[in-house]
């Protein structure tokens, strides 16, 4: 696993390095103005010159994203649990979930900012709204994907619904939960940034918005680079946790 992981890193490097290099060459050869496309070296210099500022902003956005992700995860898992135990509630809960899911976030985000202010709470809520649906759908399908032979065995023991749920269905849903997390972890960052964009006292989204209104593109791109790196880091974290928790992968 470790070897695979480091070879993945090499592969990513081999793909990204030429892209950045061509970008650099292109910008210099065409002498593109900095307010259209700054060169990667210029972006990285801006990043390191303002390291403290970016570190502070990233910490805010990352904590909003993780808090929102955990909230969305809990809400999604709770919903899936309810539907797993009482399938008759499906139509009601799913209608509600789809209603929330299909309401455009760009419409809700300003409202939440108006109601709840420029602090972190509206960002966490937006992120949670964005992440709970994939968790709900995936975990529910995981709870229902339990091996029929296993369910037969539990039935032959006269296990209660709760015992079947806890001992057979929940572990069966673990791989599905991680599939959902791989989608929602990077999504959580987008949620936090979009929410910050509509009004915030701090965070990467706020930094980006300021840079954008001043047409300070190196500043904007530096934030994008950080976001991309945090997305990869969050995804990797999910994969590492998955390796530990879902250790029986590919066995049944």
């Amino acid at each position: 696993m470790k070897r695979l992981f480091s070879s993945d890193l090499w592969l990513a490097f081999l793909i990204i390095a030429p892209v950045l290099l061509s970008w650099e060459i292109l910008v210099r050869a065409l002498q593109l103005p900095i307010y259209l496309l700054p060169s990667p070296t210029r972006i990285l210099r801006t990043l390191f010159e303002n390291l403290a500022l970016y570190a502070n902003a990233s910490a805010i956005t990352l904590s909003e994203a993780i808090a929102g992700l955990l909230l969305g995860l809990s809400a999604g898992a709770l919903g899936a649990t309810l539907l797993g135990l009482w399938p008759r509630m499906e139509r009601g809960v799913m209608t509600l979930a789809i209603l929330v899911k299909s309401t455009p976030l760009v419409a809700i985000a300003p409202l939440l900012t108006i109601w709840l202010g420029f602090g972190v709470v509206p960002k966490i809520i937006i992120t949670a709204l964005l992440t709970f649906f994939p968790v709900l759908v995936n975990v529910l399908s995981g709870l229902r994907s339990t091996d029929v032979a296993l369910l037969d065995t539990f039935q032959s023991w006269h296990a209660s619904r709760w015992e079947v749920f806890l001992n057979a269905r929940v572990p069966s849903a673990v791989p599905h939960l991680f599939a959902a997390l791989k989608v929602t972890a990077p999504l959580a960052l987008i949620g936090a940034v979009v929410a910050e964009w509509t009004g915030a006292s701090g965070g990467l989204g706020r930094t980006m918005w300021l840079a954008y209104t001043n047409l300070n593109l190196p500043f904007l791109f530096a934030a994008v680079f950080i976001l991309a790196a945090m997305g990869v880091a969050l995804y990797t974290l999910v994969v590492i946790i998955e390796d530990r928790v879902f250790f029986w992968e590919g066995t049944s």
Binding site: D147, A149, L150, D152, T153, F154, Q155, S156, W157, H158, A159, S160, E163, N167, A168, P171, V174, F247, W248, T251, S252
Partner: protein, 250 residues
């Protein structure tokens, strides 16, 4: 403690208009501690019959009684041990925990049971208690399932082709182990199989089923003394008789 089935029929509703009769007029009496093998062509309903007795399927007509209990009551009293082709183990639990779970769910406190470790020793897996099930071979996984079957201390063992997915040699040694355990714990066994020689080697009685609709159309009492020698002429005679029965009706 006998198992009795009278006038049992079952049909599957594929659609509202079309119902397929899977089992028709099944009558069956099994004595306590008897070992009965069910054999028949694919689709003759032998698995369905076993699932009905295990309470996994509710028949459309008639019923099964296990010592005055219906299948639901029998599972509630944990009198039925179910074992199928797939070992149906929990890969996220150790071998020990898999066996222990069978005793922890719906516990029957009045019953004196062997401990999970004793059970694993019985199936020669004592050294693998802390292993995860997916690290074991198919044969070993079925031995874990066997230990779990014993863990209930049930009077009825319902076994649906439990070793079909295994290779011939593993299968033979496992069937021998089952016979040994049956002699020790004397449960009533219903054993569904595709293999004539396996049925004759193991059972007190072999029921031959026929297809569409599924019926028990012949039965053979096997009087040979165990352990039975497959190469003996008397054994071959019984196999031939059953083969003729199957050829006639499939």
């Amino acid at each position: 403690m006998n198992l009795s089935i009278s006038n049992l029929s079952h049909s599957y509703n594929h659609s509202a208009s079309e119902a397929r009769l899977a089992l028709k007029d099944i009558h069956l009496e099994v004595q306590p501690s008897e070992f009965v093998a069910l054999i028949g062509p694919s689709g003759c309903g032998k698995s369905t019959l076993l699932r009905i007795i295990a309470g996994l399927v509710v028949p459309t007509q008639g019923s099964a009684r296990l010592a005055q209990m219906n299948p639901k009551q029998a599972t509630a009293a944990k009198q039925i041990s179910w074992m199928a082709q797939k070992p149906a183990l929990l890969p996220w639990r150790t071998v020990y925990a898999n066996v222990a779970l069978a005793q922890k769910i719906n516990p029957q406190n009045s019953r004196s049971l062997l401990s999970p470790l004793e059970l694993l020793d019985l199936v020669r897996l004592g050294d693998f208690a802390s292993a995860h099930t997916f690290t074991l071979s198919g044969g070993m996984q079925q031995r874990v399932a066997l230990a779990r079957t014993l863990a209930l201390g049930a009077d009825y063992w319902l076994m649906d082709e439990p070793f079909t997915a295994l290779d011939e040699l593993t299968r033979e040694s496992l069937t021998r182990e089952v016979l040994g355990l049956w002699k020790r714990f004397h449960p009533t066994v219903l054993w569904v199989t595709h293999s004539i020689s396996e049925a004759v080697r193991m059972a007190d009685r072999v029921l031959v089923m026929s297809r569409s609709p599924g019926q028990i159309h012949a039965e053979h009492r096997i009087h040979l003394i165990r352990p039975r020698d497959e190469t003996a002429p008397a054994f071959q005679d019984v196999v031939r008789l059953i083969r003729t029965d199957l050829a006639l009706k499939s």
